[in-house]
Symmetry: C2
Subunit: 331 residues, 2 copies
DNA sequence: TTTGAAAATGGAAGCGCTTCCAGATTAATT
DNA sequence: AATTAATCTGGAAGCGCTTCCATTTTCAAA
């Protein structure tokens, strides 16, 4: 039951192994039509598929990029993945892996073992220094889709999170809101911190700060669970740090017969697919996710081809998308 | 810039290659404490990670399973992927790939080339016969997450789609609806066909058939676009073949100020995460997606271990989940 | 000491493939 | 017919690793 190997093909076609290899790799101009025919025929008869392990062993392996995301179920990452996959050149292989903080190390290890030549992380790395050392030692470039302290230490893809948060605040202020709640996930990425910072900064220019800051899990259920506190706070608006949670908040408010936006304005972040389908449609901040995924991939490919180029940062602007879930304060 | 290989470690530790190999694979009981120490030290110093290509070459490779889905963005598949990933034994490697009908062939090929030992398809295979021959010839078992004509030709995971459709019809009928629309995606899987069949079958026992059958794209936007026709049909209820589309329908109806369920009842299918967060919450049919993913994976692993066992079919029941989007007919 | 088994280690083959190089065959040119 | 050049093909090394087996070293018991 052994897999058919190049040897089998060679024997069947009655030519040398070398001939088979070259002919099947289109480097066989130097062979006669007849030989080529025999080889192709034998391959098809035997159903031969070259073993890429053996092939890669030789050196010029295909480029393999590992992409590590926290979850496949979050729209943001689903989009990233899809966009990378759609934009990957044919000779590049992408391997997607989900990973919790716990098994990050082993995930990275298995990717490296598999011959990944570069990695892209969808979220911050907990033990950054350690991982950095591990990868640097092996000359494996990587890239983190999150703000990063050291712009000169590696390539980066950034979005203007601070501005994003700020836009939200301005929008709500301009609608007359003064009592604004802030709903955060219990684990913040750097991106989210910036988002928050921008929001708080702009509020403070009006001498305001959030009426309440609610911390909850990063999920629709988390948003739902935050509603109780939100109502207690008597705010007239809330900035929910991402759309997933915002969807939960919308749902929770509806259960309490609190009308959005008449009684309460809600703003999300990410502009996932679902935002424009909510009832009411969700005001949110758009990040060009597809572009981000594409840029990250291209950047890391560029790095592979030119390991010594200076580090680069791709910068993306965000945009406030005003929809139905925000409105002027009720008087 | 060559990657450090076992040879480098051996030299550095001043032992043989064989010793390094065995020690690092925990088959080194026969070595002295001292030697083991040296080797581990050398490995760490050099940052050595064994090359799995070379390792697999030898034969007993790690089990690699390829999973092909149409899209990473559809909640149904995101869930499947997540559940497989969460349930995969440590020694099993999963590779997820998105694929359109067009590049299916090459996707399969690249997976086989990589040494995939089994495949799982998330959706029907267009040119089934051809693919079947290709994979059979290479002794690569596969499994399709869709109903399948030939229960004796391969393992299968099935859900009771017919019953699912039937449950929807019964539910709507019991609420008094007689004018019921059916909204389909323009490409049906076998599963969906069964779903439809169950629905139509039950309707017909009341001598009914859908007031209208609307065909649209399989997406939220598709659902939204179907609303116009739906309204024209003067139906009092609609069965939308999956939640994604149903979300679009809900949104579209809201735009037209048509109240759900007072003016129109809506039923989806899949019970994705979002169903219970819609406003109104969406009545839908629950498939145990996580279980399905897990079962599919286990089944294919079992097949790998025991290629000659008789084919098996895992069968899952579905459940109607009644929520706010359906209600008694208005009189 | 001698002896023999147990413990420790390295040599070398081989996994499937690519690639360099030399050898063989054929065709083209005097 | 002789020589050269062009065309065609196979041998063999080597990629990084595992594994079988032979060899060497150690150590306790005789």
């Amino acid at each position: 039951m052994r897999k058919t190997s190049i040897k089998d093909v060679a024997k069947k076609a009655d030519v040398s192994i070398a001939a088979v290899s070259q002919i099947l790799n289109n480097k066989g101009q130097r062979f006669s039509k007849h030989t080529i025919e025999k080889v192709l025929q034998a391959r098809d008869d035997l159903g031969y598929v070259p073993n890429s392990a053996a092939r890669n062993l030789k050196g010029t392996s295909n480029r393999l990029i590992g992409i590590i995301v926290p979850s496949f179920r979050m729209p943001f990452f689903a989009d990233i993945i899809q966009s990378m996959q759609d934009n990957a050149p044919a000779d590049v292989n992408l391997v997607f892996l989900g990973s919790t903080d716990d098994n990050l190390q082993s995930t990275i290890y298995s990717l490296v073992e598999r011959g990944a030549q570069a990695l892209i992380f969808g979220k911050p790395i907990p033990n950054r220094a350690e991982v950095n050392e591990f990868l640097k030692k092996r000359h494996i470039p990587y890239l983190v889709l999150d703000q990063n302290a050291d712009i000169n230490a590696q390539d980066m893809v950034q979005t203007n999170e601070f501005t994003g948060g700020s836009l939200v605040a301005s929008h709500l202020l301009s609608l007359g809101h003064r009592k604004i709640a802030l709903i955060l996930p219990n684990k913040l990425t750097d991106n989210m911190r910036q988002r928050r910072a921008g929001f708080l900064d702009t509020l403070s220019t009006s001498n305001l700060s959030p009426t309440t800051i609610i911390t909850t899990t990063l999920s629709k259920h988390g948003g739902l669970a935050a509603v109780h506190q939100l109502i207690q706070s008597e705010s007239t608006a809330a900035f929910v740090l991402n759309d997933e949670m915002a969807i939960g908040v919308l749902r929770g408010l509806a259960y309490q017969n609190i009308n959005v936006p008449a009684d309460m304005s809600i703003v999300g972040y990410d502009d996932t697919d679902y935002a424009e389908f909510m009832i009411p449609t969700l005001t949110t901040v758009m990040q060009p996710v597809l572009e981000i995924g594409k840029a990250a991939l291209n950047m890391i490919l560029r790095r592979l081809d030119h390991p010594n180029l200076p580090f680069q940062t791709a910068f993306f602007d965000v945009k406030l998308v005003v929809r139905e879930s925000t409105g002027p304060i009720k008087r």
